[in-house]
Structures are given as C-alpha cells and as structure tokens.
C-alpha cells in the first residue's frame, strides 16, 4: 500500500546532540511537510518542500533544518536539541499545496 513512513517511531537524544528524523513516501507526491506537535495541541508547520523548493515558516527556529534528496525522502535535522524540542514530529505529503495531506505515524522525540 502507498504510504508515508517515519523512522524511528521513538527517538531519544541528549541535550545539544544533533538528531535526524527520517520520512519516506511511496505516493510520489510533490509536497512534503514537517510538523511539530506538542501534547494535546494542533500540529505546527515547520517547513515544506514543493519538489525541490524549500519553504520555511517564519517562526521556525534556525535550529531546525530539512533536506529532501529526492522525491521519496525528506529529513528533519535538529542541530542542537533543547528540552523544549521534545515533541511528536509528523511528516506529511500531498499531491499539491492545499490538497489532502497524508501523514506518517510520527516520531516521538525525547530530549534528555
């Protein structure tokens, strides 16, 4: 089945230690998104790629970076995680902007 895959489901890192979260898709969608979601809150968009074009939200901290080496894969790099970065990180894809988004199961990040 076509899907959005996130690995790992749970990630533990130490304060200040760089961490990379991975997302892959078999839907061949043009757009890939990264969201941060804290407990009982709505997902907050960090950035998205439309094909190779990177679009950063204005309030996304510089600590967060992303890479999309090809259509199928997208990575979220957190350069120096702080305690406040502990959250669920959701990857999503869509055929085009504003269209239905398909989400992965998320990666829950713990910062010790």
């Amino acid at each position: 089945d076509a899907m959005v895959i996130q690995n790992p489901r749970y990630q533990v890192t130490q304060f200040g230690k760089p961490v990379t979260l991975s997302c892959s898709q078999t839907l061949n969608h043009n757009v890939m998104y990264w969201y941060q979601q804290k407990s009982s809150q709505a997902p907050k968009l960090l950035f998205h790629y439309y094909d190779k074009d990177f679009n950063n939200e204005a309030d996304t901290p510089d600590n967060f970076q992303s890479r999309r080496p090809n259509t199928s894969f997208c990575f979220l790099d957190i350069r120096s995680p702080g305690l406040g970065d502990a959250a669920m990180y959701l990857c999503a894809t869509s055929r085009a902007l504003g269209r239905e988004q398909f989400f992965g199961p998320g990666t829950r990040l713990t910062v010790l």
Binding site: S40, A42, L45, L90, L97, G98, E100, G104, G106
Partner: protein
C-alpha cells in the same frame, strides 16, 4: 499567525450523546478539511468541503461549510468511544500564499 480557531478546545461526553465542534476564521477559504487524529498516530483526512453552504455526511458525522466560507462545523450523532481523538480543521487562505494551517484542535473523549 493562527487563522483557524476551534471550539471547544476540550470535550468529554458520554457514549450516545451528540456534539458539535466549530472552526472559525476571519479569512475566506477556498476549501476546508477536517482531520481526526487518534492517540499516537498522524491525522487522517475525514472530509473536504469546497462550496459555501455545503453539507457532507460520513456515517454519524455531518460536516457543514459556512455560506461565506469562513467557518465550518462538525456534528457527531450518538458518539461512540471510537470517536475519541483530536479533531482538526485545516485550510489555506484564499490569496494567502502557500501557508497551510491547522486549527487549534478539539480534543474529544467519549466515555463508555
């Protein structure tokens, strides 16, 4: 900037009761989506409404798009424990560029 306000933020009801969740904005939307997110999973699309005044039904769920396309509601009839989750409206504002926003979310708990 959060464009979509949902109410209530939290809702706890008994099985069999009816409920309505609201999504409001000062902006006009070309379309609006409703998602449900179960604990530990990514959001899943329930419905997309496009036309002002449009009503869509999905089993016990009824979705309505306001005539002015600035608000929407989700009504659940005879709620069941399986309806428990975070309900999110989402859209991209007309003329608002590529930003895609989720609403503030409504956390629903249905008690057996």
């Amino acid at each position: 900037t959060q464009l979509l306000e949902q109410s209530p933020q939290f809702l706890s009801i008994q099985e069999g009761e009816n409920l309505t969740v609201y999504c409001n904005s000062s902006s006009v939307f070309s379309s609006l989506q409703w998602y449900r997110q179960e604990p530990g999973e990514g959001p899943v699309l329930l419905v997309t409404v496009v036309t002002g005044g449009e009503v869509k039904k999905l089993k016990r769920l009824t979705f309505q798009f306001g005539d002015a396309r600035k608000d929407s509601s989700l009504h659940i009839t005879a709620a069941q424990p399986g309806d428990t989750g975070l309900y999110l409206c989402a859209s991209r504002a007309r003329g608002g560029g590529n930003q895609f926003y989720f609403g503030t979310g409504t956390s629903l708990t249905v008690i057996p």
